[in-house]
C-alpha cells in the first residue's frame, strides 16, 4: 500500500498536466478551425505569415502564381 503514497500524486499530476495542456490549447485557439488545420498540415509551402523584427511581412514569401 505504500506505493499509493507516490502513485496517487503521480496520477493526479499527469491528469493535471493533460488538463493544463487542454486549457492552454483552447485559449490559444487550437480548436478554432478544425477543418483548416487539417489542410495546413498538407501545405508544403508552409507560409507562416507573421511580423518579423522589422515589422514587415514574413521572410517566407509565398510564390506568386
Amino acid at each position: 500500500m505504500t506505493a499509493l503514497a507516490w502513485l496517487v500524486p503521480v496520477a493526479l499530476f499527469l491528469g493535471g498536466l493533460g488538463l493544463a495542456a487542454f486549457l492552454w490549447s483552447l485559449s490559444r485557439g487550437q480548436f478554432d478551425d478544425l477543418e483548416g488545420a487539417g489542410w495546413r498540415a498538407l501545405d508544403d509551402e508552409g507560409t507562416v505569415i507573421r511580423a518579423s523584427h522589422t515589422g514587415s511581412r514574413s521572410p517566407v514569401q509565398p510564390p506568386q502564381r
Binding site: L12, L26, D32, D33
Partner: protein, 731 residues
C-alpha cells in the same frame, strides 16, 4: 520555459509595432472557400497588400481575420482583392465574431475540468470498489474518499455553475426547467457524500455527481457548438453589403466613408450597380432602382429628381446623386424590423419539448424522493438510512439521459441539414417545424427565381436577338440580363456594339451597321398597341418586335410542391406581386389558394387568421416585405438570396436554386421529434427500473455510476442513428 515566454512577447510586440493605435483587426466572411488551396490563396493575396500585417483564414467558419493598418477603411480593398480571385467577401461587424467564440470557449473549459475530475475520481472509486472484496484497509478507503472530495468540491462549484445559475433563474421566475432537478441532485449527492466521508461511511457518490456533470456539460457544449456554427454561417450570409458610401463634399470632391458615419442631409453618389446605403431623396439624375428586396416586385422602378428611395435597394442604370433623409434606426428597413419584433412575441411563448418534460419530471422526482424518506421513516427506520435512500432516488433520477436526449439529436440533425445546404438558426426551430401542416409561399424569389426570363415562344429572329443581346450586355436591368441569357442559351454570341446609350426608365440605343436600333419600353420603341410585359426591339424604322418576359419557377418547384401535397400539407401563396403574375404561378404549381398584392401587414393578418383556425404555418419567403410574416409564422424558411432581415427572421435558410431542401427540412424535423421522444422513452424506462431499487435502498454508488453512464450512452447512440440519410429518411 522563460525563454519561450520572452519569445512570445517579442512576437506580440512586433505585430503591434508599426503603430499600435492604428493597427486593427478586421473580420471578413469569405464565400466559396472550400479547401486548403483556397485558404492559402486568400491568405497570400491579403497579406501581399500594403499595410497588412497578418491574414489568417478559418476554413470552418469561412472567415478571414486581417490585422492591418487602418483595416476598417481598407476593408473594401480586401473585398475587391478577394473578388478578383473569385471569392465573394463581406465585412463582419466586430461584435458578432468575438461574442460567440468566447461563450463556447467558456463551456469547453468547464468540460475539460469536469472530465479531468471525473477520470481521477473514477480511478479512486474503482480501486475502492475492487478493494471491497480484497484487503484494502479502512484507512486507505477513507483517504481515497477524502481525495475524491478534494477533487470533487471545486469541480462541482466550477463546472456546475451554468446549471446552478440557470436553475436559480428559473426558480426566481417561478418556473421549473431541467436544470432544477440537475442542480438539486448534484448538490445533494455532493453534500451527502461529504457528510458520509466525514463519518467514514461507504455511501459516497462523488463519482456519480462529477460524471453526471461531465456528461451534461458535453450535451450542453454540443448544443452550443451547433448553435454557434449555425449562427456564424447565418452571419456570414448576412454580411454588410454596402460597408462604405461615396459622399459628395461641398467643395465638389468625393470621399468614401463608412455607412454608419452618414448623417441626414449629406449628399451621396450611388454608382450604377451599388446598393443604396440609406433612405433618401433623389437629388439629381434619373435611374432604375431594383426594389425587389423591399416589395417582392421583380421589375425595377424608375426614379427621378425628388423621388424617395430606400436603403438596401439596388441602383441599376446610371449613377445618381441622393440626399440622405433618414439613417440607421429610422429607415424603412428598421420599421419593418419593428413589425417583425411584434410578430415574434407570439413565438416567444413556445415551450421547448425538453422544458415541457421538465415541468412534469422535476416535481415528480422531488415528490418521489420525499415519499421515499417518509416511507422509510414510517417503516420504523432511523432518519439516516431514510435520507440516504431518498438522496439515492434523487441521484438516480438526475436527468442525465433527459438532458442529453434533445441536444444529441439536434446536433446530428443540424449536421445533416448543413450537408443538404440548410442552415438551421434557432434551437427550437426543428421542434416547431415538425408540427407544421400548412406551407405558405411567397412568389417572387421563393417559388420563382425572382429573375425574369425571355418567354420561349418569343417571335424574335436569331439575328435580332444577337444584336439585342449586344445592347443588353451593357445594362444591369433584369430584362437586359434575361436577353443576354436567352441569346447564350440559343447558342448566339452577343454582337459587340459600341457606344450604347442607356436612358433610365426607357431603354438602350446604339448605331449598328449605320442603322439606329432600340431596345426598351413599348413607348420608347414606338409601339402603339397594348404593351406586353417585357421589352421591345426595333431595327431602324421596322415594326417593333416584342420580347415577352416571364419570371421562371424554380426548376423543381412543381415536383416539390407535388410531394408536399401528397404528404398532406395545405399549400398557399401570399404574394406582394400583381394579380396576373401570381395567378399564372398558382396555375403552374396547382395551388388553388392564393392571394395577390399583399402588403406586409396583410400577410401577417392572413397568417394570424390561419393560426386562429388551428393551422401550424410554415412561411417560406425571401423579400423584406415577407420578414414580418416570417416572424409571425409558426416556423419559417428563407432562401439564401433573401433580404438580410428576412434571413434574421427565418428559422432556417436554404441555399441553391432548388426548392427541394424544404422536403429534407420537414423530413429531418419529423425525424428529430421522433428520436427525441424515443430518447425520452429510454430515459424514462431506465428510471422505471432503477427508481424502485433506489427507493428500497438497494442502490450502491457502483450501481449509480453504471446506470448513469449506461443511459447517457444509450441516448447518444440512438441520436447518432439519424446521421445516415439513406436509413434515416423513411425509417
Amino acid at each position: 520555459m522563460a525563454q519561450i515566454l520572452t519569445y512570445d512577447k517579442t512576437l506580440a510586440l512586433d505585430a503591434a509595432q508599426p503603430d499600435p493605435q492604428r493597427t486593427t483587426l478586421v473580420s471578413l466572411a469569405v464565400e466559396g472557400m472550400h479547401c486548403g488551396a483556397c485558404m492559402r490563396k486568400v491568405e497570400n493575396a491579403l497579406s501581399a497588400l500594403p499595410g497588412v500585417t497578418a491574414a489568417r483564414a478559418n476554413l470552418s467558419s469561412k472567415r478571414v481575420s486581417v490585422v492591418a493598418l487602418d483595416g476598417k477603411r481598407n476593408a473594401e480593398v480586401y473585398i475587391e482583392t478577394l473578388s478578383g480571385l473569385g471569392f465573394t467577401a463581406s465585412l463582419l461587424p466586430d461584435s458578432a465574431a468575438q461574442q460567440t467564440s468566447r461563450t463556447s470557449f467558456d463551456i469547453w473549459k468547464r468540460v475539460g475540468v469536469a472530465g479531468f475530475a471525473a477520470a481521477n475520481i473514477m480511478l479512486l472509486s474503482v480501486s475502492v470498489w475492487s478493494g471491497h472484496s480484497g484487503e484494502m484497509p479502512h484507512s486507505v478507503q477513507g483517504l481515497f474518499h477524502w481525495l475524491s472530495a478534494l477533487i470533487a468540491l471545486p469541480t462541482v462549484a466550477y463546472a456546475g455553475r451554468p446549471f446552478f445559475v440557470s436553475a436559480r433563474e428559473a426558480i426566481r421566475n417561478g418556473r421549473l426547467n431541467m436544470d432544477v432537478p440537475i442542480s438539486v441532485g448534484v448538490l445533494l449527492a455532493t453534500g451527502m457524500s461529504l457528510f458520509q466521508t466525514m463519518r467514514g461511511s461507504e455511501q459516497v457518490y462523488f463519482d456519480a455527481a462529477v460524471t453526471l456533470l461531465f456528461f451534461l456539460l458535453i450535451g450542453r457544449a454540443l448544443d452550443q457548438f451547433v448553435r454557434t456554427r449555425a449562427a456564424g454561417a447565418a452571419e456570414n450570409l448576412l454580411g454588410i453589403r454596402a460597408p462604405a458610401a461615396s459622399v459628395l463634399l461641398p467643395d465638389g470632391s468625393i470621399e468614401r466613408i463608412a455607412t454608419s458615419e452618414i448623417l441626414p442631409g449629406m449628399r451621396l453618389i450611388v454608382a450604377a450597380g451599388e446598393r443604396v446605403p440609406v433612405d433618401g431623396r433623389v437629388y439629381k439624375a434619373k435611374s432604375d432602382i431594383d426594389e425587389s428586396l423591399l416589395t417582392g416586385e421583380s421589375l425595377p422602378r424608375t426614379v427621378a429628381t425628388g423621388d424617395t428611395i430606400f436603403c438596401g435597394t439596388l441602383n441599376l442604370t446610371s449613377p445618381i446623386e441622393i440626399e440622405a433623409t433618414t439613417v440607421a434606426e429610422n429607415t424603412l428597413l428598421a420599421e419593418i424590423a419593428q413589425l417583425m419584433t411584434t410578430a415574434e412575441q407570439a413565438k416567444g411563448r413556445y415551450v421547448r419539448l425538453a422544458d415541457r418534460a421538465a415541468q412534469i419530471y422535476a416535481p415528480a422526482v422531488h415528490i418521489l424522493g420525499l415519499l421515499t424518506f417518509v416511507g422509510w421513516m414510517l417503516a420504523g427506520y432511523n432518519w439516516e438510512p431514510a435520507l440516504t435512500a431518498a438522496i439515492a432516488v434523487l441521484i438516480i433520477t438526475c436527468p442525465c439521459a433527459l438532458a442529453l436526449a434533445v441536444p444529441a439529436v439536434q446536433v446530428v440533425a443540424t449536421g445533416r441539414l448543413m450537408q443538404a445546404g440548410i442552415i438551421l438558426k434557432s434551437a427550437d426551430g426543428l421542434e416547431r417545424l415538425s408540427e407544421v401542416d400548412t406551407v405558405v409561399f411567397d412568389k417572387t424569389g421563393t417559388l420563382t427565381l425572382g429573375e425574369p426570363r425571355l418567354a420561349t415562344d418569343s417571335p424574335v429572329k436569331d439575328h435580332d436577338l444577337a444584336i439585342a443581346a449586344g445592347l443588353a450586355s451593357r445594362s444591369r436591368h433584369p430584362y437586359s440580363r434575361a436577353v443576354v441569357i436567352a441569346a447564350r442559351s440559343h447558342g448566339l454570341t452577343p454582337r459587340i456594339v459600341e457606344n450604347v446609350q442607356e436612358i433610365a426608365g426607357e431603354g438602350l440605343t446604339a448605331i449598328v451597321d449605320g442603322t439606329q436600333v432600340r431596345l426598351g419600353s413599348a413607348s420608347y420603341c414606338g409601339y402603339g398597341g397594348q404593351p406586353i410585359q417585357g421589352l421591345y426591339f426595333r431595327w431602324g424604322s421596322d415594326a417593333p418586335v416584342p420580347l415577352a418576359m416571364l419570371d421562371r419557377l424554380r426548376s423543381d418547384a412543381i415536383d416539390t410542391l407535388g410531394v408536399l401535397r401528397s404528404q398532406g400539407f395545405n399549400l398557399h401563396i401570399l404574394s406582394g406581386d400583381q394579380r396576373d403574375s401570381v395567378a399564372s404561378a398558382a396555375a403552374a404549381t396547382g395551388i388553388s389558394y392564393w392571394m395577390a398584392a399583399q402588403k406586409p401587414d396583410d400577410k401577417i393578418r392572413e397568417i394570424e387568421r390561419l393560426s386562429r383556425v388551428g393551422k401550424k404555418v410554415l412561411m417560406v419567403g425571401d423579400g423584406l416585405n415577407d420578414a414580418p410574416a416570417l416572424a409571425a409564422g409558426h416556423a419559417s424558411l428563407s432562401p439564401s438570396t433573401a433580404a438580410d432581415i428576412s434571413q434574421v427572421a427565418a428559422d432556417a435558410i436554404f441555399q441553391g436554386e432548388r426548392l427541394r431542401p424544404i422536403l429534407e427540412l420537414l423530413e429531418v424535423a419529423k425525424l428529430t421529434k421522433r428520436r427525441s421522444l424515443e430518447n425520452f422513452t429510454i430515459a424514462i424506462g431506465y428510471n422505471l427500473v432503477f427508481v424502485p431499487l433506489a427507493m428500497l435502498g438497494y442502490v450502491t454508488p457502483l450501481i449509480a455510476a453504471i446506470a448513469m453512464s449506461g443511459s447517457s450512452i444509450a441516448v447518444t447512440l440512438n441520436a447518432l442513428r439519424m446521421s445516415n440519410p439513406r436509413r434515416g429518411v423513411h425509417s
